[in-house]
C-alpha cells in the first residue's frame, strides 16, 4: 500500500514542518487527511452513499474547493463549517495527500442511459473533465466513479444557481439541459456511475 511507505517519511519530517501560521498548528498532510476519513473513507476512498471520494483527486481542485468552502463562495451543508478550521497551507497538504492515493471507483449500479450519457459527456463536459472526469491532471472534480448522489447534488446546485463553478460549466450544463431536459442529467449520472 502506497500510504505505508509515504507515512514513514511523514513521521520523520512531520515535526519539522511546523508552521506557526497554520490554524491546525503544523500537522502533517497525513495527519490532516486522516481526520477526513470518518466521512470520506480511509485515504479518501468513500463507501458512500453521498460523501464524495477524495482519493486520487486533483490536488489543485481539492485545495481550491476547500478555499471556496472556507470563504463561503461555494455552499455546502457541513464542509463550509469544517473548512474554516484550516489555512491555505493545510489545504495544499491535504490536496497533495489525496492526489497520491489511487482513485476510488464507487461500487454502485448505473441506470440504463449510460450510452446516451457518454455522448452528452463528450459533447458538453469532456473539454474540462478529461477521461470521463477521471483524470486528476485536468484539475477538475472526479465524475466517473464518483458517488452519484454527490454528483447529482452538484448538478442541482449549478442548475438552481446555488453553486457557481464558473461561467463555462454553468453555460454548458444549462445548454445541455435546455436541449435534453432532466433526462440529460440522468443520462450523465448513469454514465458516470457506469465507469468502473
Amino acid at each position: 500500500m502506497k500510504h505505508v511507505k509515504t507515512l514513514g517519511t511523514a513521521l520523520i519530517f512531520g515535526s519539522l514542518a511546523f508552521s506557526g501560521a497554520s490554524l491546525a498548528g503544523g500537522a502533517s498532510g497525513e495527519a490532516l487527511s486522516y481526520t477526513c476519513a470518518g466521512c470520506h473513507g480511509t485515504n479518501g476512498a468513500s463507501t458512500g452513499p453521498a460523501s464524495p471520494s477524495l482519493a486520487g483527486m486533483s490536488a489543485v481542485y481539492l485545495a481550491d474547493s476547500m478555499r471556496a468552502f472556507k470563504s463561503g463562495e461555494r455552499e455546502s451543508t457541513i464542509m463550509m463549517r469544517i473548512a474554516k478550521g484550516y489555512d491555505d497551507d493545510d489545504f495544499d497538504k491535504m490536496g497533495a495527500f489525496f492526489e497520491k492515493q489511487t482513485m476510488h471507483i464507487a461500487d454502485q449500479s448505473a441506470g440504463g442511459m449510460a450510452g446516451k450519457g457518454e455522448k452528452l459527456h463528450e459533447k458538453y463536459c469532456d473539454k474540462c473533465h478529461a477521461e470521463s472526469g477521471m483524470d486528476p491532471e485536468d484539475e477538475a472534480g472526479q465524475l466517473g466513479g464518483q458517488w452519484t448522489a454527490y454528483t447529482e447534488y452538484q448538478l442541482q446546485d449549478v442548475m438552481d444557481g446555488t453553486r457557481d463553478p464558473g461561467k463555462k460549466m454553468t453555460k454548458a450544463l444549462k445548454k445541455m439541459h435546455k436541449k435534453e431536459g432532466d433526462a440529460g442529467i440522468q443520462a450523465l449520472l448513469d454514465y458516470y456511475a457506469s465507469k468502473k
Binding site: 520523520i12 490554524l23 502533517s28 481526520t35 470518518g38 470520506h40 451543508t77 463549517r81 474554516k84 478550521g85
Partner: protein
C-alpha cells in the same frame, strides 16, 4: 490466543522492551513479527481501540498489535436510535473484527481484568497475559448506578438504558412496539459528561417519529437534570415542525421535556420514576440513561481521577497517571473534544501516530483532530455539529471560527442532504474504524 502462545510472547517481549528504551535508531521498516518487534496491546474494540489498532498497522506494519475485546461482534451506538424509530435494522449496526484481522491485528476475544503498569502486562479473565511496550486503553463508558435508587445493571435488563447498542436496543424497540396507543414513554437523559451529547435528543426524535406514525395518542416525557442539552435549538425546532412541540413551554404534541429535574429513583415493579423535585410518574416504557464514568478497566488500572475519567496528554493520549499507557475515546478527558464516535476515531489516529513515533524513538508528531456528529430528527431532516481542534500550549483547543451547528433556519434541501451525509458518515466511519 492460547496460553502457550502468550507465554512465548512474554519471553520474547522481555527482550524487546529492554531494546526499546535504547533503540533511538530503530528502523520503522524492520521486518519480522516475533523477533524483537514492538508490542502494542489495545484494550477495547470500539471505535477508538479499533481505529488505533488499524492505523498503527497502516503506519508501521512491523509493530505487533493485539486487540482484546469482550464481545465477538460490536454494535455501533451511532444510528441505533433509528432502530428504536423503526427505520433501521439491527444488523446494519453489527461489526465483525474480520477487517482488523486483515490488517494484521491479532484480535483476542476475552475480558481484560488488569493492567500491570510496572510489568507492562495486560491480564485477562481467560488467564492469558500480554506483554506490551505501549498499551492503548479504549474502554468506553460504565454507569454510576448508585446515583439512581432502584436502578442497576440487573434492572436495566428489563428497563434498558440502551446506551450501549446491542440486546438492550432490541428490548427497548420491542417494548415500544408492544406499547398501547396512548402510552407514556419516560426518558431520563444523564447529567454531563456522557457519551454522545446529542444522543438523547435524537432518541426522543426517533421515538416520536415512531409514535407519530403508529401510536399518535402516546406521549414522551423527558426528565433531564441539566439546564439544557446538545443541539437544543435545532431539536426543539424540529420537534415543533414534526411532533407538535412548543419550544416556549417545552411541551406539546408528542413530547413534554422537563429541564433541571432528573430521575433520582425508580420502582421497577410499578415502572414508576421519582424525579428530584419529588414527582412520581408511571411509564409504560421507561428508558433511564444513567450518569457515566470511564469503563471499569480504567479504574481497575489506576487510570481514572476522582470523577471517574482518565486524564491524558492531549498530543499522545498517554495517561498522566501511568507511563506507556494511553487512554482514548469516551473514557479520556480530552475536552473540548466531546465524547463521540467521531472524536474517538480522530483520537485513535492521533494516538496511533504518537505510539508509532515513540516506539521508533521519535517525538510524537503534531496532532490535529476533528469531530462531526449527525442526528436524524425525522426522515429527510438531518442536523449536524462539527469542530476542528488543534494542540496549542500543551492543550487541545477549538480552532476559532471553525465548525458549529447546522444553521437554524430550516432549508429542506440541505436537511435532506444532511441525512444522506449522516448515512455516509455512518458507512465511512464503520469502514475507517473496523474495515
Amino acid at each position: 490466543m492460547s496460553n502457550k502462545f502468550s507465554r512465548r510472547n512474554f519471553v520474547k517481549a522481555g527482550a524487546a522492551v529492554g531494546a526499546a528504551s535504547l533503540a533511538a535508531g530503530f528502523s520503522p521498516f524492520a521486518i519480522g513479527g516475533a523477533h524483537g518487534s514492538k508490542k502494542v496491546v489495545v484494550v477495547g474494540g470500539g471505535v477508538g481501540g479499533a481505529t488505533a489498532a488499524k492505523y498503527i498497522k497502516m503506519m508501521d506494519s512491523s509493530i505487533d498489535v493485539t486487540l482484546i475485546e469482550a464481545n465477538k461482534d460490536y454494535y455501533t451506538c451511532f444510528l441505533s436510535n433509528e432502530v428504536l424509530g423503526g427505520d433501521r435494522q439491527m444488523n446494519t449496526l453489527k461489526i465483525s473484527y474480520a477487517g482488523l484481522k486483515g490488517h494484521g491485528v491479532k484480535v483476542v476475544n476475552d475480558i481484560v481484568t488488569g493492567i500491570d503498569s510496572g510489568k507492562q502486562m495486560v491480564k485477562t479473565r481467560g488467564g492469558d497475559s500480554f506483554k506490551y511496550d505501549r498499551c492503548i486503553v479504549s474502554p468506553g463508558v460504565d454507569f454510576k448506578w448508585e446515583l439512581i435508587d432502584g436502578y442497576d445493571a440487573s434492572v436495566a435488563e428489563n428497563t434498558p438504558h440502551a446506551w450501549k447498542a446491542g440486546p438492550q436496543t432490541v428490548t427497548l424497540r420491542k417494548q415500544l412496539e408492544s406499547m398501547r396507543d396512548g402510552g407514556t414513554v419516560i426518558i431520563a437523559p444523564p447529567p454531563n459528561p456522557f457519551r454522545c451529547p446529542p444522543g438523547p435528543g435524537e432518541r426522543i426524535s426517533q421515538i416520536a417519529h415512531y409514535l407519530k406514525n403508529n401510536k399518535p395518542k402516546s406521549k414522551i416525557l423527558a426528565f433531564d437534570p441539566k439546564k439544557g442539552f446538545s443541539k437544543k435549538g435545532l431539536f426543539v425546532d424540529g420537534w415543533a415542525r414534526h411532533y407538535g412541540f412548543d419550544a416556549g413551554s417545552m411541551s406539546g404534541g408528542l413530547i413534554d421535556y422537563t429541564l433541571q429535574d432528573g430521575v433520582v429513583a425508580y420502582d421497577a415493579r410499578t415502572k414508576t420514576v421519582t424525579t428530584k423535585s419529588g414527582n412520581k410518574i408511571k411509564g409504560d416504557v421507561v428508558n433511564i440513561i444513567p450518569a457515566q464514568k470511564a469503563g471499569a478497566i480504567a479504574a481497575a488500572a489506576g487510570l481514572t481521577n476522582a470523577k471517574g475519567w482518565c486524564p491524558i496528554k492531549g498530543n499522545t493520549f498517554e495517561s498522566t497517571q501511568h507511563k506507556n499507557i494511553h487512554v482514548i475515546g469516551d473514557a479520556a478527558i480530552a475536552s473540548p473534544l466531546p465524547k463521540s464516535g467521531y472524536a474517538a476515531n480522530s483520537e485513535g489516529k492521533v494516538c496511533a501516530a504518537a505510539v508509532v513515533a515513540l516506539l521508533n524513538g521519535k517525538e510524537a508528531p503534531h496532532p490535529t483532530y476533528v469531530n462531526t456528529c449527525y442526528s436524524i430528527i425525522a426522515p429527510n431532516d438531518g442536523i449536524s455539529v462539527a469542530m476542528v481542534y488543534n494542540f496549542v500550549d500543551g492543550k487541545i483547543g477549538k480552532v476559532k471560527g471553525s465548525g458549529g451547528l447546522t444553521p437554524k433556519a430550516f432549508d429542506a434541501k440541505a436537511r435532506a442532504r444532511e441525512q444522506q451525509y449522516a448515512y455516509s458518515w455512518f458507512e465511512n466511519i464503520k469502514a475507517d474504524s473496523w474495515g
